[in-house]
Amino acid sequence: MVAPRLRTVGRAPHRRRPDEDISSWAEEPEGRDVSTVRAQARSFHSPANAGDQSFLDRPPATDVGTVGGCAMSAVTVEAPGATTTAEPLLAVTGFTKRFGEVLANADVSFDVRPGEVHALIGKNGAGKSTLLKLVYGIYRPDSGEMRVAGEKVAVGSPMQARALGIGMVFQDLRLVPAFTVTENYALALARNGITLRHGELRRRIAEASASYGLAVDPTALVRHLSIGERQRTEILKVLMTGARIVILDEPTSVLAPSEVDALFAMVTGLRAQGFGVVIVTHKLAEVRAIADRVTVLRGGRVVLGGVDPKPMTDAELVEAMVGQTVAPLPAQRPTVTSEAPPALELVGVSALGDRGVTALHDVTFAVAPGEIVGVAGVAGSGQRELCEVAVGARPPSAGTVRVSGRDLGRGGPTAGIAAGAVDVPEDPVNDAVVPALTVLEHMALANLRAFLRRIGLDWRRAGSHTAEINDRVRLRMAPAHRKVADLSGGNIQRVMLSRALGREANLVVAAYPSRGLDIATTRRTQELLLARRAEGAGLLVVSEDLDELMAVADRIAVFCAGRLTGVVPAATTNRQELGALMTGAPSPAGAPSADPATPAVAPAAGPTPDRSDGA
């Protein structure tokens, strides 16, 4: 399936096999996350959906929804051309899109049939998002055509796409933070008339929320919701706009396992009703779990087009995506001995959330030097507050926070930095990124003191320092002169990771370090975390991916509704135990290390041998 045409193109020695055809820093011209969010939020105002709502009530026109999706042979109804199988709801042929020097999509063909889930996978910059944005009318293709239910269409705007029944749930959030959920829905579901009729809308949201199994509080302010909750809100919103083809751009990247299950149950339900679902993901297990077919993109080209993923192994899929095989993480890792004080020590820490309600209750635990403590919990269980408290970015309302033995007190982020804490924030776009600044300036910002030269900054030295970090960290950061506003979420994440993991630190707090990253980069990130551990830093790693936590962490601290419900050794725990702790069930008896009180003292005595013993 590797596009053979490339070979015939005369472009001699510089060219490499298409397999490696990946620009080295994963240029993603499609992702102008920072700058587009607000502009896009406005464009949701779609009066075109006035009639669409009823679609949800009536059975789909082509009632083909045999669960399982692939058996479509019965339907030839209104499609004279389609003889062999159901007329695809959406069919794209030969889409090509170029951004300046970058060919984001090259001759991409792709289709979605009614009642199927079609997964779209590929590395960062493989062209997934570009393809989706072409379909959704955000970009126009340079060439190629698109058919919706057999009819050739030219989609010039998202509004037109929605009118055609194409709904998109974006990877980055397209909600207005200052509005309530209902108000955000009002933007998307606006009907004719002067009043917004909040009451009615609230009721509809509640109904939809119940019927899709996605808990959404219509009265909550969006800015108070966690990313996971916002995503859930988005998904429900798109469903309510009456889409027939639902495109989910990395919907699971920040969802908790139970939420992922709920999402998949919902996707299965949509499939049964004859919707076409496109799902973009980085997680191969999900592809096999939910998708009927998979299309793999690499370097803007289709590598595998619409094949059944079930018989494929992870290795095969990864190789298709990356063009290489990815080595597994080393299972064995050395115990790090250190006389240093705990990298992070929380004693009876409580903290208020953004809503002014206590979001972290009386948390006591410690991270030893040379130890990785994973943090698990359903989205919004206090992870955000925990990370911020640990680096001084949020003052605790009670208790003591010590980083490397130094009490942060009321010193704020400055005290945290002075004590040697670095972080990868949960929400870089809001909390750490200055859109107008370049990558280089962001790298310098983390450590301004190091680059002072008389009254100014030594940009040359900052540049060579950045280059040095880039060479060492090898996360393929965007070129230093690029403005961060022009980078996609994945590339911003690379900058954040390079910045946090590329320098000396006593404590690394990494919230969702692999968010938006492809498999190879995720693996590289994990290696970096382990390298930091080996150098004696303490690491606090928050992730929604329990497998990742179990693979990387020494111990896992589980939170439920802002309370620490247990700290368990990663090597001996399992998903059931973690899941029980995440929902607040008492931890299984007889697990002494799950007692939250003991680790507070234990790490002070030395490193935790949990993993090396257990593994």
């Binding site: 510089h14 090509t96 030219a154 095989t325 909390d431 910002l445 940009w459 393929r476 230093a480 002169h481």
Partner: protein, 409 residues
Amino acid sequence: MSDATIPAQAEGGAVIPKPRAAHGTQDAADAAGGGTVATATLVPEVPVAAGTPGASVDPGVPPTESRLTGFGRGLARWVAALAGAIAIFTVLLLVKGANPASVYADVWTSTFTNQPSIEQIFVKAAPLLLGALAVVVPARAGLVNVGGEGQIVMGAVAAGGIGISLGDRLGGGLVMILMIVASMAAGAAWAGLAAVLRLTVGINEAVSTLLMNYIALDLLLYLIYSPWKDPHGTGQPTTAELADTAKLPYLGTTAVHVGFVFALIATAVVWVLLRYTTWGFRLRVIGGNPEAARRAGLPVALLLLSAMAVGGALAGLGGMVHYAGVEYKLRTGITTNFGYIAFLASWLARHNPVSVVVAALALAAITVAGDSLQIDSGLPAASVNILMGLVLIAVLGWTTRRKSEGKAR
């Protein structure tokens, strides 16, 4: 999108390798540097020194290199907007029954073809430029300083206080220096107060600076009506005239005082401060994302305060040069809205410390032209305000459109 375009895609394919070549260097450096993955098959014929340090980063690139080209583009846009504003103004002239051609001809000859008028432009540009810089600096940190007017008044008051009390007792040069210091301190304090209000009580600085303008003007009125009123004067509410030795000297044989030079020096200093110093960089970080600045450990409150104070000091200096270079007496209408026009100038220049010079001169020219409009064409004084308003809307409208285009890209 049509069928016709599809064959073209084959040719499209032929051009594909271009970006790859551009990134080839990096790829090679990356992979050879020990890429994460073992089985990567490197194509050997890539003729690049693999592993060159810094291949992916250019350390020499200044972080703000696009500014110069932006300046040229900005100027062109500016001229176009100005033309648009003048076109609308022409319509207004026609409605008013005036002959636009002759009005513009009159304005042109009386403004740009005789030396006194041209000198007037530079005289008016000095406080305008300083007042505009007072908007530029806080804007870099995301603050809106509408208080240029009040800060100019406070600067003039402070300079006047020195001038009245010490003007004829000390040497002229010393008085000038004292006036400069006092005016800058007064302007800084006045603006700093707004910053303190924002940082402690949370009052938006745009509101507080605007309101403080009126307080400053009333303070001036109080002073010139009673304690500082010229005892030997004609009864007009003014102070006594500044001693001749303390008046700002003229440049050569012209009627332009050295205040304009002060303004140019201040511009250069501000440019260097914002562009090359750590302070300027930190202000930019705050202006871009205060939360990111806070988390990077920057002293955000101090930086905001300093940005406002520096801005206020510049406006205060503007008050001083106008007082000691033109007016010599504190009087009721001493500032003639310089603070607001300067605010306009800064927005026109999009808070760029270099373009602000052009903007200040242009607005000074419009102000001078407005005077001749009034005198020669018998149009009301407000006409020129209309013109300035039109210019602002035209230029800002233009800028905004450009922004959204950038986003849609």
